[in-house]
């Protein structure tokens, strides 16, 4: 028995392939949208993964340091390091800011960390790690900086000594790692004009600048320009220690809020990017529905376009089953071509997006199954239409 579908496709090969290509691009857009959504969620988690901390200690009753501002003393780690089960502690400070490089400003998330402690970049793609205690930086490659570039943060110049990859904040801003002390300074240091104005304001205040008490003013000014705060303290625990128990101990006795890495992921994904993610996911659903509808219409109209041929087939006594098989096979073929073209296109253009696009294998499989199901459903409609055709139309039309 001859395969009607193959013959029919061979007959209209060009239009069949072009239809498949068009469908493919549509599926590609849908896959990319799914990738944008996944990428957004992944962006929120990537820092957590890289930092690889078991417990995050932040200011009491805050969702810090990303979802809310948080500030803890930088000597808190001494108390935490003494807790049972704590293997490593690390102070970190995060601030999102514009840094300037060769006159152009670039939005980055500056992360201050202590060398050889949790909070630094996990791997490098070029250069070397930070070796000096000040004024060196490791940048995400997405910033466009190169090893040896000098970037300006507040009043100091930092030399980029290393590059890393996929280190972004939950907003997708590339990260710039600098030594903790520099980050503390950058975070709390005011600009020079503000400092001078503040000094004048203090000097005019009789409470701190009383005649006969020299030195009080200097002391107050010194306090105002120094900072011993960080945004969070990261803990790594010894194997076998329960992170939940440690964070409960810290919350109860140290009077700070402590999150396990699971809590932190929950905060980042469910709270920080919740609205944006919902927006994207709703759009993704609409796009998927629209794509499915368009696929169905295309297959339906393709079949309707063949009314005359089907009528002739019926006239010469072709069985209904054979006609139905032809339509189903053609529809599934379109789906397969479309899916692969779409996957190809999405993989090709995904790296060009400014924010991370994560094409998950699971999503691809789901899209493949969905495409085939939609194609099959659409072909059912088409078959119903085809079987209703009166063979007389072959002659009459």
């Amino acid at each position: 028995m001859i395969n009607l579908a193959r013959r029919d496709i061979a007959h209209h090969l060009k239009s069949y392939l072009l239809t498949g290509l068009g469908l493919g691009l549509l599926i590609g857009v849908t896959l990319t949208m799914a990738g944008v959504y996944r990428g957004m969620v992944d962006d929120a988690k990537v820092l957590l993964r890289a930092v690889d901390a078991d417990v995050w200690v932040v200011q009491q009753n805050t969702l810090g340091p990303f979802a809310e501002p948080s500030s803890v003393p930088d000597d808190l780690y001494r108390a935490l390091a003494g807790l049972d089960g704590v293997a490593q502690t690390g102070n970190v400070a995060y601030l999102t800011m514009q840094v300037s490089h060769q006159g152009k400003s670039q939005r980055v998330m500056v992360a201050g960390f202590e060398p050889d402690k949790p909070g630094g970049p996990a791997f490098l793609v070029a250069g070397r790690p930070i070796a000096r205690a000040h004024y060196e930086a490791v940048a995400d490659a997405k910033t466009g900086f190169a090893v040896g570039d000098v970037v300006r943060i507040r009043r100091n110049d930092y030399t980029v000594v290393g590059l890393t990859r996929r280190m972004v904040s939950s907003n997708g801003d590339p990260m710039l790692f600098i030594p903790l002390k520099d980050a503390q300074e950058a975070q709390f240091l005011k600009d020079n004009d503000a400092i001078v104005e503040d000094r004048k304001r203090l000097a005019a205040n009789p409470a701190v600048n009383r005649p006969g008490q020299p030195g009080v003013l200097d002391a107050v000014q010194a306090i105002q320009t120094s900072s011993h705060k960080v945004n969070a303290v990261l803990l790594r625990l010894r194997p076998g220690t329960d992170a939940r128990a440690v964070s409960d101990t810290i919350a109860r006795w140290q009077r700070y809020t402590a999150y396990t890495s699971d809590d932190m992921e929950e905060i980042l994904v469910a709270k920080l990017i919740a609205t944006a993610a919902k927006q994207i996911s709703l759009f993704l659903i609409i796009l998927a529905v629209v794509s499915a509808a368009i696929v169905a219409f295309i297959i339906y109209t393709m079949t309707l376009g063949k009314i005359k041929e089907i009528a002739v087939l019926k006239l010469i006594g072709t069985k209904n089953r054979t006609i139905a098989a032809m339509i189903v096979q053609e529809a599934l073929g379109l789906g397969v071509i479309g899916f692969f073209v779409g996957k190809f296109a999405a993989t090709l253009w995904a790296p060009a997006f400014p924010k991370y696009v994560l094409l998950e294998n699971g999503d691809a499989v789901r899209a493949f199954v969905l495409t085939l199901v939609v194609c099959a459903l659409a072909s059912v409609l088409a078959i119903r239409a085809a079987l209703k055709i009166d063979p007389a139309e072959a002659i009459g039309g």
Binding site: R49, R128, P129, R165, R166, H228, E360
Partner: protein, 395 residues
């Protein structure tokens, strides 16, 4: 006709097959290089022998080794300030004066008191002379009456009376002498008071304790200053150094005498030679930094106090040791080591790291010279991940 149709069809199916194959090839290529099945791109480096010259980095400010605050020892009003900021001064030079107010009058009073004490002493001396004369007279009378009594010319009562007069005159003499000594003491006291006022007067003149430079003029004539408040600040320009703060975690190995490079913020391109001259015993417990004083060697002609300076202290190095790039050192499951690409898969090799420089780290054990290790990777590596060597960053 029939034949050409067949060839047409076979040609078309040939094109079709070629196109399909090309598409599949491109698809597979894309998935394995950029898609989810791609292996992790890595750059490798070779374990090699090299000389290591580690440095310790700190930042600090240019400060004077000794800073002098010149001010009055008691509260007063500034009368005049002779020198200004930047002036070079000699040791002992008059810098400023505090208003003496009533000190001259007090000195006059003290001088009068001293003169009066001298006159009082003269009077006391004259009284001594008079008392001596009386005592001699009384003594003579007593002896005369004693003799008369022994010959029974006078009553015993008369002789006793003369004897009593003589004793009383002696006592009066002693009192007069004591008075005279007291008057001398009074002279010393009045003189000392006068001298004290003179010295107080001298202390109102603020003199330079050193040959140096005035760095601050903190009070102007007419200002009232309290005891101990600085009117002028001086430093010795020949003894300037950088008070550098070095992270305690990296401060090990820094000792006095090590050479250092000092880079001033005003001249970021030029490193000045320096030397560690003192490591302060008391570290900063809050910032967890050790304080290292690095002197300029030799001192540049002009320095500005308070200027930010970066200091790189050169530690003793190691010659001909096994080294790997710093970027290669990684942590995995709580162990320090390096990643190696073995049969296209990443394997973790624990090592014992030693001395570190900015770019290199010494390998004490765990690797041999010539071993290839992974220096850079496009993703966080995990044991068993497929890796492929490639350039990660465009040159």
């Amino acid at each position: 006709m029939n034949l050409s149709a067949v060839s047409k069809i076979s040609k078309r199916s040939l094109f079709l097959t070629a196109g399909a194959l090309a598409f599949i090839a491109a698809f597979v290529w894309l998935l394995t290089t950029r898609g989810p099945l791609a292996s992790v791109g890595v750059e490798t480096a070779v374990v090699s022998r090299a000389d290591l010259l580690p440095k310790v980095f700190g930042i600090g400010t240019v400060e004077a080794q000794h800073s002098y605050s010149v001010g009055p020892i008691q509260a007063g009003r500034v009368l005049r300030v002779i020198v200004d900021q930047g002036d070079r001064v000699q040791a002992g030079q008059l810098l400023a004066e505090i208003d003496p107010v009533d000190l001259r009058q007090r000195a006059d009073a003290a001088a009068s008191a001293a003169a009066r004490a001298r006159q009082a002493a003269q009077a006391a001396q004259a009284q001594v002379v008079e008392a001596e004369s009386r005592a001699r007279m009384a003594q003579a009378n007593r002896e005369r009456y004693q003799a008369l009594y022994r010959q029974n010319f006078v009553a015993k009562e008369m002789a006793d009376s003369r004897s009593h007069e003589a004793s009383a005159a002696d006592a009066a003499l002693s009192a007069a002498r004591a008075n005279a000594i007291g008057a001398q003491r009074e002279i010393s006291r009045a003189d000392a008071e006068l001298q004290g006022i003179d010295q107080l007067h001298n202390s109102l003149k603020l003199l330079s304790p050193i040959d140096g430079v005035v760095t601050a003029r903190e009070a102007e004539p007419g200002t009232t200053v309290v005891a101990g408040q600085a009117v002028l600040r001086l430093v010795d320009p020949a003894r300037l150094w950088v008070r550098a703060r070095v992270d305690q975690a990296r401060a090990e190995g820094v000792v006095v005498g090590q050479a250092a490079d000092i880079v001033l913020r005003s001249a970021p391109g030029a490193a000045l030679p320096g030397k560690v001259v003192r490591i302060e015993l008391q570290s900063d417990a809050v910032t967890e930094e050790r304080i290292v004083n690095v002197a300029f060697d030799p001192a540049p002609a002009q320095l500005y106090l308070g200027e930010l300076a970066e200091v790189s202290i050169r530690l003793p190095g190691a010659r001909d040791v096994l080294t790997v790039p710093r970027a290669a050192l990684a942590q995995h499951n709580g162990q320090t080591g390096v990643w190696r690409a073995i049969d296209g898969r990443a394997r973790f090799q624990p090592v014992q790291p030693g001395m570190q420089t900015t770019g290199q780290v010494q390998i004490v054990s765990g690797l041999n010279a010539g071993d290839r290790i992974i220096a850079y990777s496009a993703k966080q590596l995990d044991a068993g991940v497929r890796v492929r060597e490639q350039r990660l960053m465009p040159q």
